[in-house]
């Protein structure tokens, strides 16, 4: 049995007096000839957050949650119930409610077995006590001071620090018993700068599945402060963004939100099983230009989107989605994999025990190409160079996607010139990917602040890409 399973049992089951044979009994309740799959997901999480504003530590808060979600699947029907009371009678009642999706079948016994976890992509720590409260408060103050020190035009600084530990334990009637202990920390800086009555904002941040000292190493936290101020000052000089269709060069790292929206969601197994995605039924086809290779990789050590095992107990993996432009695979959870007769890719994720798992991304990025970034920009006569983005959104059926630039520049005669105001970029996923004409040699992953929303459920994710050029994309500015 792996250490992670032991930690999860000690954290979740032991305090409420549940033992492994109780899990067998609950799973027995979920068996029957008509039941194809069933699982129980236990979760215990704690989260703390701190906010500095106007130079003072304004807020500190702590949240503790625990509960179990119980799911029974028959064909493509799913029954689900959950409880925040971890008492055996309550859980057995929830199991009955979940399996009411089908009425036939006799109970049988289930034997679960924990497999040794082969790797640990992050240490099974609780990051909350990894710095003293005094040191956390001191860190926030230093970030605030660093931002204000950069420039007298900085008028407002908001710094937030969040740490969380999530302990999960999954048992399923297919014999699965697995667990994960997931630390997660994040620090964000938001500044407002003012010049001649004009106000603009900038923000930056980062995070990882590590302890809080991640922010102290390499002056990371102070770096976020400098970066947020730099963006706000750039925006103070920004002119109207252009409107219309033009070549767009995207910088490395966070602009990879392009891939998350333009192809990522459309390649999630549930949409493709149901045939509602613009990529449905296109495996083996050319869906992007041949310079595009895109992967979803849950195995990057310490990254925000990484998982030792997903929320169904399946080991995470690196899945090739698009290789040299050809559609190679979808991201799967167990349910959709079973119905599509393929294997789960370890992408079964859920926001919490109170939500059903579904196929979700982990860290999604494009592999590096060969072009020098400068060389890419030099090929553009008139276009946009976008290096920082807010969020994005996609309609997976029509393929329409948007993402909003928060720092962008004009490219004129092969040179980056004036900064322009934020603007939304819009395209059609499969079409846009065929217009990627150059890929840089500077692959970078984002700093670790991504949150992905799907059907009301939020999960942490990562994105990344090298500098790349899209020959034609619509830029939603106000300028002619």
């Amino acid at each position: 049995m792996s250490d992670l399973i032991q930690i999860a049992q000690d954290t979740i089951l032991a305090p409420v007096g549940l033992i492994e044979t109780d899990l067998d009994r609950m799973l027995g309740e979920l068996t029957g000839s008509a039941i194809d799959a069933a699982d129980i997901y236990f979760q215990s999480s704690r989260l703390e957050s701190w906010v500095l504003e106007d130079g003072i530590i304004k807020e500190g808060s702590y949240n503790i949650e625990q509960g179990a979600g119980i799911r029974a699947i028959s064909g493509d029907k799913t029954g689900f119930a959950y409880s925040d009371e971890l008492q055996l009678p309550t859980l057995l009642e929830a199991a009955k409610a979940a399996r009411a999706i089908t009425r036939s079948g006799a109970e049988r016994s289930v034997q679960i077995a924990g497999l040794p976890t082969p790797r640990q992509l992050y240490a099974p720590i609780n990051p909350l006590p990894s710095l003293t409260e005094t040191d956390k408060v001191d860190l926030l103050r230093r970030v605030d001071a660093e931002a204000r020190r950069q420039d007298p035009r900085v008028k407002q600084v908001i710094v937030s620090l969040v740490g969380a530990q999530d302990v999960v334990l999954v048992a399923a009637i297919d014999g699965t018993l697995n667990a994960d202990v997931r630390p997660l920390v994040r620090l964000n800086v938001h500044v407002i700068a003012e010049q001649n009555g004009r106000r603009e904002q900038g923000s930056s941040g980062g995070g990882a599945r590590k302890a809080f000292d991640f922010f102290l190493q390499e002056e990371r936290a102070l770096g976020y402060a400098r970066e947020a101020v730099r963006q706000a000052l750039v925006n103070l000089d920004a002119v109207e963004a252009p409107a219309g269709t033009m070549p767009v060069v995207l910088g490395p790292g966070w602009p990879g939100v392009l891939l998350h929206e333009a192809v990522g969601h459309g390649l999630e197994g549930d949409f493709n099983r149901k045939g509602t995605s613009a990529f449905s039924g296109r495996l083996g086809e050319q869906v992007a230009s041949s310079c595009c290779t895109v992967v979803d990789d849950g195995t990057l050590p310490g990254r925000r989107g990484s998982l030792n095992v997903d929320d169904e107990g399946t080991e995470s993996q690196c899945t090739v989605l698009i290789e040299n432009g050809i559609l190679k695979g979808y991201m799967q959870d167990k349910h959709n994999a079973r119905l599509m007769k393929v294997d789960s890719t370890g992408n079964g994720r859920r926001e919490s025990y109170a939500h059903l798992p579904m196929p979700r991304m982990t860290n999604t990025y494009m592999l590096a190409g060969e072009a020098e970034p400068d060389e890419i920009i030099a090929t553009v006569d008139k276009g946009l160079y976008a290096v920082n983005f807010g969020g994005g959104q996609v309609d997976i059926t029509s393929g329409q996607f948007v993402f909003s630039a928060s720092e962008a520049y004009l490219i004129e005669n092969g040179k980056v010139t004036r900064p322009v105001k934020g603007a939304t970029l819009i395209g059609n996923g499969p079409e846009t990917m065929t217009k990627v004409s150059m890929v840089g040699n500077d692959l970078k992953l984002d700093a670790g602040v991504g949150v992905c929303g799907k059907e009301g459920q939020s999960v942490p994710v990562g994105v990344g890409q090298p500098t790349l050029k899209i020959d034609e994309l619509t830029v939603g500015g106000t300028g002619q």
Binding site: S61, Q66, I101
Partner: protein, 444 residues
């Protein structure tokens, strides 16, 4: 089965326990909220049940003050042990937060004293089989509406009831049960290679006030089919109509810009705008927190402060900000009883329905869907993905997609020409469609 009255008494006791524990641990003031919700959520897809979810959510949160220092904690665990630990955690945080002259409960004199029954609780005694039947009727109507509808994301029925209790150490305690029921449907249509989806839904506190399942399905299908064959328009400036359900977002952005937290952070494009002309003279915007069965009705706000009817825009002029006690102190003003947001906001309509607005616009863009978060609240700069219809001679010509619309909210508000009579009632922020004189459209 215990009834709501007993459950409410239990939750009030829990709030009382939290406040007593906070005082016992040395807090000079404290406030606590407890909620308990349960419900059913199920989806029928392609004529068969897809998911049945039984939901049950509990939560409690406490904020303690040691003088001007503050700490908070929350949990889903209602056990006495958890209460003690949660209060301890909050008190621990208050040791490290700063003295903040603006922190604290709202003033005692502002607490609501009248707690009228706003008729928010109408539980729906709905068996799973009946719920499946309603969702099936809805989805079937959508799939049968047009032969181009070839696939579905299903019809989802949600029915939830809950209790929320809030109390603080001024002695205020309030609580009320509420219910919320909805039925939604999303279907996929195809014409040639073009695939589109759209949806529709109905929402009410009272199941009897919901639209018929067949109507919800039919509208979802019609909306989907009407988008087939969407194309782009060329980049140009043109007048734009925001259909009522998307105009709600513009009204929300207005409220976001006059919210205290955005103002004291200087993170709003409507800074220092009281008594200024924000909209044309025909515009009036007001809040009615005590509407019976209203989706956001409440007699008191999240700090126990009595809510009141309030005009925000009168003849186009900004009359009031949206403040809680913290932001009010930061700004040297008085709370407006809006901790937790506005409650039932409405903009007055003119005389034209949507058809009338199309005629008035003559030629331009009707926006029925917006994508992305392209709004900068600090500057008011607005740039979002859009889909809808191109209009000429007051008539819809063809569906449009893969375009953006851009402008600045300050100019868009002043450029408002007319508000339609086609009021969106499924939202706590209610408006008819907006006709705006001019925006930049980026397309092919």
């Amino acid at each position: 089965m215990i009834n709501m009255q007993q459950r409410q008494t239990q939750l009030e006791q829990l709030v009382d326990d939290l406040l007593s524990e906070a005082k016992r641990q040395g807090a000079t003031a404290a406030e606590a909220g407890v909620s308990s919700d349960s419900g059913l959520s199920l989806t029928v897809r392609m004529g068969a049940t897809e998911t049945i979810e039984h939901t049950r959510d509990n939560g409690l949160g406490v904020t303690v003050y040691f003088g001007q220092r503050k700490g908070s904690a929350s949990t889903s665990d209602f056990s006495p042990q958890a209460i003690k630990e949660t209060v301890e955690a909050a008190c621990n945080f208050a040791r490290y937060t700063s003295e903040d002259p603006c922190a604290g409960l709202a003033d005692a004199g502002l607490m609501a004293t009248e707690l009228p029954n706003l008729d928010l609780y109408h539980p729906w005694d709905l068996a799973v089989d009946e719920a499946i039947e309603l969702a099936t009727r809805c989805e079937t109507a959508a799939r049968d509406e047009d032969e181009r509808i070839f696939n579905s994301e299903g019809a989802t029925l949600n029915s939830h009831s809950g209790l929320h209790v809030y109390g603080n150490t001024h002695g205020f305690i309030g609580g009320y049960p509420s219910s919320r029921h909805s039925l939604s449907c999303a279907v996929v249509g195809k014409e040639g290679e073009n695939m589109q989806r759209d949806y529709w839904y109905t929402l009410s506190r009272l199941s009897g006030e919901m639209e018929l399942p067949e109507l919800v399905g039919k509208v979802a299908a019609q909306r989907t089919v009407s988008r087939l064959g969407s194309r782009r328009v060329t980049t140009q400036q043109a007048p734009v109509i925001f259909q009522a359900d998307v105009a709600v977002g513009l009204l929300r952005s207005f409220i976001g810009a006059i919210r205290g937290s955005a103002l004291y952070r200087k993170a709003s494009f409507l800074l220092d705008s009281l008594d200024e002309q924000i909209f044309p003279g025909f515009v009036n915007i007001h809040e009615e927190p005590h509407l019976l069965r209203g989706l956001a009705s409440a007699a008191y706000d999240n700090e126990g402060v009595a809510t009141t009817q309030r005009g925000y825009i009168s003849d186009g002029i900004l009359q009031s900000y949206v403040l809680d006690s913290y932001a009010a102190r930061k700004l040297g003003m008085q709370t407006t009883g809006n901790a937790g947001g506005v409650r039932n906001l409405r903009i007055n309509s003119g005389a034209l329905d949507l058809q009338g607005l199309l005629k008035k616009m003559d030629s331009g863009l009707l926006v029925t869907e917006l994508m992305g978060q392209g709004l900068n609240m600090v500057t008011g700069d607005y740039s979002r993905g859009a889909a809808g219809f191109w209009v000429e001679n007051g008539e819809i010509q063809y569906p449009v997609e893969e375009i953006t619309i851009a402008g600045n909210l300050r100019e868009m508000f002043m450029g408002l020409q007319e508000v339609g009579t086609d009021v969106e009632t499924r939202s706590s922020v209610q408006t008819g469609s907006w006709l705006i004189d001019r925006m930049m459209i980026a397309g092919g």
